[in-house]
């Protein structure tokens, strides 16, 4: 934190604005910590609070506007990219979409505080054809709320943060070890989650070439190819394997009632 504060002192406006912009466009950077630090720096007189707030607000809104425009013109393809780092991209997209639909336009005001929705809300708004000026107004409110909340914490609790920083310096080595253990623990957790969600371990797999040979040599009526994508069905012009049928993975129990048990079923996603 001390090093971070020293960096803020030297490159404050550019550094914090860049962090905020990076988070707004979906990069995994801690904008909240940057804002808290900026608030503390402003309270100490290192940075001008008004200028800092204006700078980070414009940066955040610029990042959001970029995703809004991309969402408007690329549709669900962008959501797929943003969810690519997720353990389960399909669930990531659908959870974000469902949350946005359920809460409506006002989601933009609180979206920054909801993990998983924060980056998805602007491109969703673009995909759902929200009017640009309406988006700007709601995004302005949401970004202001988010920035003021974290900036305010740093501003108000500057002395408390300084105490924590001093304590961290004193216990620096111990903290490094704790942080290292936390990072290792997190990595192990992610690997466990990935393995838990890996369906490929229990279902037989087939290479494309082998399936093509089977289709060419066997009676096609014995074969059923099922497309288990969801987000592939939101973009007009989307393609699928010729002759395949849709199998909605989020409604599997119902969908399977109409599926034949006397055929080999080949599943695919993106």
């Amino acid at each position: 934190m001390h090093d971070f504060m020293a960096l803020i002192e030297r490159h404050g406006y550019l550094l914090v604005s860049s962090i905020v912009f990076a988070e707004a466009v979906g990069l995994p950077v801690p904008a909240a910590i940057g804002l808290v630090g900026a608030g503390a720096a402003a309270a100490s007189g290192i940075l001008h609070p008004g200028l800092m707030l204006l700078s980070v607000l414009l940066s955040m809104m610029a990042g959001d506007a970029l995703l809004f425009v991309l969402g408007r013109y690329t549709g669900w393809a962008l959501l797929g990219v943003l969810c690519r780092v997720s353990v389960n991209p399909e669930t990531c997209i659908l959870r974000s979409a469902e949350s946005f639909y359920k809460r409506g336009k006002a989601t933009l005001i609180i979206a920054k505080f909801i993990p998983g929705i924060n980056t998805m809300a602007p491109p969703l708004a673009g995909s759902m054809r929200m009017r640009p000026w309406q988006f700007v107004r709601l995004d302005f409110l949401g970004a202001s709320l988010y920035i003021l909340a974290y900036f305010g914490v740093g501003y108000v609790f500057r002395d408390f943060l300084a105490t924590i920083t001093h304590g961290l310096q004193t216990a620096g080595r111990a903290m490094e070890e704790v942080l290292l253990l936390a990072i290792i623990g997190y990595a192990v957790y992610r690997i466990w989650l990935y393995r838990k969600n890996s369906v490929y371990r229990v279902v037989p797999r087939i290479q494309v070439e082998e399936l093509a040979r089977r289709l060419a040599s066997e009676n096609e009526s014995n074969v059923l190819i099922a497309d288990v994508r969801s987000h592939g069905y939101y973009d007009p012009g989307a393609a699928r394997i010729k002759g395949s049928v849709r199998l909605e993975p989020n409604n599997l129990a119902e969908e399977l009632k109409n599926f034949p048990k006397d055929k080999d079923i080949y599943l695919y996603c993106t």
Partner: protein, 41 residues
């Protein structure tokens, strides 16, 4: 789940991307299969 319910299911390695890459035939998703996004306007 498919296997548990008695379906003889397989997973295509690489999915649609591998199918495309291999030059296998594709078709457009039928219009009535497309899920329409709700729009604000």
């Amino acid at each position: 789940m498919l296997r548990e319910q008695g379906f003889n299911a397989f997973v295509i390695v690489g999915g649609l991307a591998a199918w495309k890459k291999a030059g296998q035939p594709l078709e457009s998703v039928p219009g009535n299969d497309l899920v329409k996004l709700p729009t604000f306007n």
